[in-house]
């Protein structure tokens, strides 16, 4: 087991190394940060001085060598605009992204698991068909459109919520509703299919003939065995939520990593762009590894070697 985790971590280093190179090269093409930082009437000499000070006049390979050496010491560079270590800035924005992600996931599971189970219990019934069509519609709706429609109706017309902002639960409701439609749509489908697979299994017949309560059978035997495929999709959802809610964060003025990255791109704040992409990639690696470990813990037949 320990060897498996070690091998996975080594493999992850390749991912991070590849990503660092790609992001480094791409961010250098974004634009001339020295030009952007100076007033329009700056002289050519001031411009050259600025470039030398920022270290952007060296060849790309030299710049990358310097950056990689810093990275190995855990130094992700300074934000060019805020004179704060870039990684500190990213980490300070992580709670907002994480709150949004886990509130969405919690709400989606809360809705999708009962609906999926009920649909699987009576396949082909009216409830099943309605649930299927609504879930497919849910995963087809663009989240940012849903966000705008929710703002339009619930905030602007009915005045129930503020249109945007960050703070208490009242700010969380609209973004969570907007993102969870897709999440719920996918989860309902997976819960339904994996429950359907499990419900015809022999051990349920055994459980019934032992005289167990239907509830015990459903939760203790069926749902437990249906958890594995559900877990896979939950992992995918977490990863999607950690790096995919950029547009929602912009619409609701949510101070998460997505908004930070967009702002950094607009200011050519290289260090912050790189730090946030690498940070998200590390999160993705951690979540993937955790899911695999939970897998092995849930199903003793799975042994990694």
């Amino acid at each position: 087991m320990a060897r498996y985790v070690l091998r996975r971590l080594v493999q992850s280093l390749f991912v991070l190394a590849g990503l660092t190179i790609v992001v480094f090269i791409v961010t250098r093409q974004i634009g001339d940060v020295a030009r952007l930082m100076l007033p329009i009437d700056a002289t050519e000499q001031q411009y050259l001085q600025m470039r030398a000070m920022l270290g952007v006049d060296d060849p790309l390979i030299v710049q990358f060598g310097r950056y990689a050496a810093d990275l190995l010491r855990g130094d992700f560079g300074m934000s060019l605009w805020q004179s704060v270590p870039a990684m500190d800035l990213v980490i300070s924005r992580f709670p907002a992204t994480a709150i949004l992600a886990f509130a969405t996931l919690g709400f989606s599971l809360f809705v999708a698991i009962p609906v999926g189970i009920l649909a699987a219990l009576r396949p082909g019934s009216l409830f099943d068909r309605v649930a299927t069509v609504i879930s497919i519609f849910g995963l087809s709706v663009p989240p940012f459109w849903l966000a705008l429609m929710l703002i339009s109706v619930l905030s602007l017309q009915l005045g129930w919520f503020r249109t945007s902002g960050y703070g208490g639960v009242e700010f969380l409701i609209l973004p969570v509703l907007a993102i969870s439609a897709q999440c719920i749509g996918r989860l309902v489908q997976v819960v339904r299919t994996s429950m359907l697979d499990v419900l015809t299994a022999q051990y349920l017949v055994t459980a019934r003939s032992k005289g167990l309560f239907e509830w015990t059978i459903l939760v203790g035997h069926a749902l437990r065995n249906a958890m594995l495929p559900i877990l896979t999709i939950v992992g995918d959802e977490i990863i999607g939520l950690l790096n995919g809610s950029v547009v929602i964060e912009i619409i609701f003025g949510w101070p998460g990593i997505g908004k930070l990255t967009i702002d950094a791109i607009e200011r050519r704040d290289f260090a912050v762009i790189q730090a946030s992409v690498i940070f998200v990639a590390i999160m993705v690696i951690v979540v993937n590894l955790l899911i695999d470990l939970i897998y092995a813990w849930l199903d003793p037949r799975i042994r990694y070697s």
Partner: protein, 319 residues
């Protein structure tokens, strides 16, 4: 064991065992489509918007559709069914007094076009690499799959944003970035299916008859992948459309005066409180198109399931 397992599935298996009537051809895809009403509606919807998008120029020339670029500053942000000097605006007008329906139809050209071209490119990359990896195996397979794993670990949306910002937002760059970030799923599925097909009897038979590798891959393995790929491609089409809309919404995709549905959404955002139709209709267009492709994917999946297929045809056949 397997006997009792199948017996517990509440499906009539007798239809499966029945020999097809002599001289009767197996049902074509079209017959299967007509038999499933929801899938039929989805397909008709897609055909309809494709035709509308293709004939947009003609419709303007014939005067059926108002020119999408003609501005009318006296008739700005007018609600649906508003009649101006340009004609009747079925879905209202936008912030420059342009006809919303016409802009939606011209927007369909870009939104659908970007989706289609992206899918073709990412499909070609994914299928080629997947076939090579699955058929050759060994080192080549390891290398390609490592590449897939590495790229799967990238935060796609952020990376796409940065690359497009660096390369400059344009239709070509948008398509390239979307295609290069979306080939991995297709490669994975192609490889897995190829791997199992390579072991099958008909491939062995072809090999013993002296068929070359290229012939086996193209004529024996690829056709057997088509149904799996059909499902995947229609699902991917929906995802690509949503990504395009998201990037255009952030200003990193289609640029004005061109119109894509995502861009129209972001332009209408400022008028959310005063002109609801500006945001509602483009979003509805994206949602319905994605819904149609997702429904078709679901249909393609169930048609591949022989039990469902028989049941679908049996229900429609007059007795």
């Amino acid at each position: 064991m397997s006997q009792t397992d199948t017996a517990s599935v509440p499906v009539d298996l007798s239809a499966l065992e029945a020999e097809p009537a002599p001289g009767r051809r197996p049902p074509g895809m079209l017959a299967l489509l007509v038999a499933d009403r929801i899938a039929l509606f989805a397909a008709l919807f897609l055909v309809l918007i494709t035709l509308a998008a293709l004939s947009a120029d003609l419709m303007v020339r014939w005067g059926v559709l108002i020119d999408p670029l003609t501005q009318n500053l006296l008739g700005r942000n007018k609600p649906p069914m508003f009649a101006s000097k340009l004609g009747l605006h079925l879905l209202g007008t936008d912030q420059l007094g342009r006809d919303l329906l016409a802009r939606l139809i011209f927007g369909a050209r870009i939104s659908l076009g970007v989706g289609a071209v992206t899918i073709v490119i990412s499909g070609l990359i994914g299928v080629t690499l997947g076939l090579i990896a699955g058929y050759r195996g060994g080192r080549v397979d390891d290398f390609i799959m490592r590449l897939v794993d590495i790229q799967m670990g990238f935060p796609q949306m952020l990376l796409a944003l940065i690359i497009i910002y660096a390369a400059g937002p344009s239709v070509t760059n948008l398509i390239l970035v979307l295609a290069l970030t979306r080939w991995m799923a297709i490669a994975r599925v192609t490889r897995a299916t190829t791997l199992s097909l390579r072991q099958s009897l008909f491939v062995e038979a072809a090999q013993s008859l002296g068929a070359g590798h290229l012939r086996i891959v193209l004529l024996h393995i690829l056709p057997n992948l088509s149904s799996t790929l059909l499902i995947l491609v229609s699902l991917e089409f929906g995802r690509v459309m949503l990504s395009e809309a998201g990037l255009s919404f952030l200003g990193m995709g289609i640029q004005p005066p061109d119109a894509s549905w995502g861009l129209m959404l972001s332009q209408g955002r400022s008028y959310l409180g005063t002109a609801w139709w500006l945001v509602t209709f483009p979003g509805l267009a994206i949602a319905l198109t994605t819904l149609a492709t997702n429904l078709l994917a679901g249909w393609a999946r169930s048609v591949n399931d022989p039990i469902y297929r028989k049941r679908l045809l049996a229900a429609r056949r007059p007795r």
